[in-house]
C-alpha cells in the first residue's frame, strides 16, 4: 500500500511478531537460541580446531613425538619451541625434553597437524585456556600439552580411529617386512607362526 506511514507500521508488525514468537518457538525455528553458559554448554563439533596437543599411547612416557622439529620450523607465527632429550651417553633420545607452545602467538591454523609425519600433534577442543596474567600460564609446557589417545578418541573419534588404523597397518607392514627367524625346532616354528598377525 502506498499510504504514508504504512512502511513504519509494517516494521512494527515484524518486531511484534518476533517478540511474541520468542516466547513460543524452539531455538531451531526462530526462537531464542542463547545457551546459558556456563550452566549449559554446547558440545563442539568434531572438526573444531583450537590449540594443539600432543598424543601419547597409554602412559605419558610413550609420547609419540620424536622431537624432529618439523612443526617448529613450519609453524607460521613460530610459537613452538622444542628441545631434544639427551640420553645418558649424550646422544639424542627420540623424545622431547622441552615442548613449549606460546598460546599468545598460536593462531590455530592447524599447520603443525598437517605437517607432522609421526601423528603426534593434533588440534584440541580446549577453548577455556585462561591465565591470570599475560606473562604467566600462556606458555604451556609438555606436561600440560600431553593427552592420552583415549582423550583423542573422545574428542575426535573419526580422525582418531583413522590415525589408529593407519598406524596399525604401518606396524603390520613393518612386521611383515622383517624376515622371520630361522626355524630351530618344530615347537619353535609353531610358536612363531602362532604369534604371527595379531
Amino acid at each position: 500500500m502506498t499510504l504514508f506511514g504504512w512502511g513504519v507500521l509494517k516494521g512494527m508488525g515484524v518486531t511484534l511478531k518476533n517478540f511474541l514468537t520468542s516466547y513460543f518457538r524452539k531455538p531451531d525455528e526462530g526462537g531464542i537460541f542463547t545457551v546459558q553458559y556456563p550452566e549449559e554448554r554446547e558440545k563442539p563439533v568434531e572438526n573444531y580446531r583450537n590449540f594443539p596437543f600432543l598424543v601419547y599411547d597409554g602412559t605419558p612416557e610413550k609420547i609419540r613425538c620424536v622431537a624432529c622439529g618439523i612443526c617448529e620450523r613450519e609453524c607460521p607465527p613460530k610459537c613452538i619451541h622444542i628441545e631434544m632429550e639427551l640420553d645418558a651417553a649424550g646422544k639424542p633420545a627420540r623424545k622431547p625434553a622441552v615442548f613449549d607452545i606460546d598460546h599468545g602467538l598460536c593462531m590455530n591454523c592447524g599447520m603443525c597437524e598437517e605437517v607432522c609425519p609421526f601423528d603426534s600433534i593434533f588440534m584440541d577442543h580446549a577453548f577455556e585456556v585462561t591465565a591470570p596474567e599475560r606473562q604467566k600460564n600462556l606458555v604451556r609446557h609438555k606436561k600440560e600439552l600431553s593427552k592420552s589417545n583415549e582423550y583423542f578418541k573422545k574428542i575426535r573419534p573419526a580422525l582418531a580411529s583413522a590415525v589408529d588404523q593407519k598406524r596399525k597397518a604401518a606396524e603390520e607392514k613393518k612386521k611383515a617386512a622383517v624376515p622371520p627367524p630361522p626355524p630351530q625346532s618344530a615347537g619353535g616354528q609353531a610358536q612363531t607362526t602362532a604369534q604371527g598377525p595379531q
Partner: protein, 368 residues
C-alpha cells in the same frame, strides 16, 4: 570552519579508522580519510614464508569473509604453478564462496542499519541467520571465521552428506528471513528519508576511480568478475547481476539485498549439480605435508575474485624459491575509500557515517 576528528575510537567507523572532517555549520566541505592503524605487515610477512603457510594469514585480511580471500590466493598460486582443480573441489569452492558472500552482505546491512540508529534489531535478526552459516563453517572447516580451508589444487576437507543437507536447510530458510527483513525496513519511511539521494556516486566517476563491487553496480555499471572472468565453474550457473540506477546509499543497500537472492540461486544450482570425485589435485597432499618443497616456476601471476566488497586481487612474483619474491594484495576496501570525499561533500555530518557504512570497508583489508 570547524575541523573535527571522527577518531580512531568511534563506535561506527567499522574498525580503527579516522576521518578528519572540515565543517561549515552542518555541511561538510572537506574530508580526509586517515588509515593505517591496523597495518600488520601482511605482505612483508608473506615474503618470508613458504606459499602454503601464507594461507592462514590471508584469512585475516578481510576477516568477515575469510573464504573469499582464500579463494583469491589459491587461484593466484594455481595460475602461477599450473595446478588443475578437480570438479568436485570447484563446486565446493563456489558453494563456500557464495555462502561467505551471503554472510558478508548480511553483516554489512545489519551494521549499516545499526549506524542509522535502529538499535541493533535488524543486526541481531541478520546475525541469527549468520550463526547458522557459521556453525556450518565450523563443522566443515574447523573454525567459524578464520577458515584456512582452501589449498593449492582443491580444498582440505570434503563435504559430507550431512553438511550438504545442512546447506540445503540454510538455503531453504533464507528467503523467509529476507521477506521479514524487507517488511521491516525496505519501505520504512525513516530509512528512505535518511538514505535516498545521499552520497550519490555517478557511474562515470566510479569507473574512473577504479571502484568495483556492489558500490559500482549500484551506480549502474554492469561489471561482475564472476561474469567477466568466469573463474572456477561460475560459467555453468544461471544468475543475474542486479544494478542500481541512482548510486546513492539506498541503492547500495538494496543491491546487496538483491545479491543475496542471486547467491541463493547459485547455491541451489550448485547443490544439485555437485558431482562425486576427488577434492584435491594429485600434488596437493605433498604440498601440504612438506611446504618447503613447493617451488613454483619463475614468473608472476595476478589472480582476482569477486569478493563481496569488490575485486580482490593477489599479485605474486616467484623466483624459484619456496618463498615468494613479491606478494601484493589489491584490497577493494582501500580503493573504494578514494571516492569517500567526493561522495560526502555537501552532505550533512550525520550522513558521513552512513556513506562510510555503505561503502563497506574492513580495516584488516584496507591496512593489511
Amino acid at each position: 570552519m570547524l575541523e573535527i576528528n571522527f577518531g580512531p575510537q568511534h563506535p561506527s567507523t567499522h574498525g580503527v579508522f579516522r576521518m578528519t572532517v572540515q565543517l561549515e555549520g552542518e555541511k561538510i566541505c572537506g574530508l580526509k580519510p586517515v588509515f593505517g592503524y591496523l597495518h600488520r605487515n601482511h605482505e612483508q610477512i608473506a615474503e618470508n614464508l613458504p606459499y602454503a603457510a601464507i594461507m592462514p594469514y590471508t584469512d585475516r585480511l578481510d576477516y568477515v569473509n575469510a573464504l573469499a580471500n582464500n579463494f583469491g590466493y589459491a587461484l593466484t598460486v594455481e595460475k602461477l604453478a599450473g595446478l588443475e582443480v578437480p570438479e568436485r573441489a570447484e563446486y565446493i569452492r563456489v558453494i563456500m564462496a557464495e555462502l561467505s558472500r551471503v554472510v558478508n552482505h548480511v553483516t554489512v546491512i545489519g551494521f549499516m542499519l545499526n549506524d542509522l540508529g535502529a538499535f541493533f534489531t535488524p543486526l541481531l535478526y541478520a546475525f541469527r541467520e549468520r550463526e547458522r552459516i557459521l556453525d556450518l563453517f565450523e563443522a566443515v572447516t574447523g573454525s567459524r571465521l578464520m577458515n584456512n580451508y582452501f589449498c593449492f589444487g582443491g580444498v582440505k576437507r570434503d563435504l559430507t552428506n550431512a553438511d550438504l543437507a545442512a546447506i540445503r536447510k540454510i538455503v531453504s530458510r533464507f528467503p523467509a528471513f529476507l521477506e521479514e527483513f524487507e517488511a521491516l525496513l525496505t519501505k520504512n519511511e525513516i530509512l528512505c528519508m535518511r538514505c535516498q539521494n545521499i552520497g550519490v556516486l555517478s557511474g562515470k566517476a566510479a569507473t574512473n576511480a577504479g571502484i568495483t563491487g556492489p558500490v559500482l553496480r549500484a551506480s549502474g555499471v554492469n561489471y561482475d568478475i564472476r561474469k567477466v572472468d568466469g573463474y572456477g565453474v561460475y560459467g555453468r550457473f544461471d544468475f543475474k547481476v542486479p544494478l542500481g540506477q541512482k548510486g546513492d546509499v539506498y541503492d547500495r543497500f538494496y543491491v546487496r539485498v538483491l545479491e543475496i537472492r542471486e547467491s541463493l540461486k547459485i547455491l541451489d544450482q550448485a547443490l544439485t549439480q555437485i558431482p562425486q570425485g576427488e577434492i584435491m589435485n594429485k600434488r596437493s597432499p605433498s604440498i601440504l605435508k612438506i611446504p618447503r618443497n613447493f617451488k613454483p616456476p619463475v614468473g608472476e601471476a595476478y589472480g582476482r575474485v569477486e569478493s563481496p566488497k569488490g575485486e580482490l586481487g593477489f599479485y605474486v612474483v616467484s623466483d624459484g624459491t619456496p618463498q615468494p619474491w613479491r606478494y601484493h594484495v589489491r584490497a577493494p576496501s582501500l580503493i573504494n575509500l578514494t571516492v569517500l570525499e567526493e561522495m560526502c561533500l555537501g552532505q550533512k555530518i550525520a550522513d558521513a557515517i552512513i556513506i562510510l557504512g555503505s561503502i563497506d570497508i574492513v580495516l584488516g583489508e584496507t591496512d593489511r
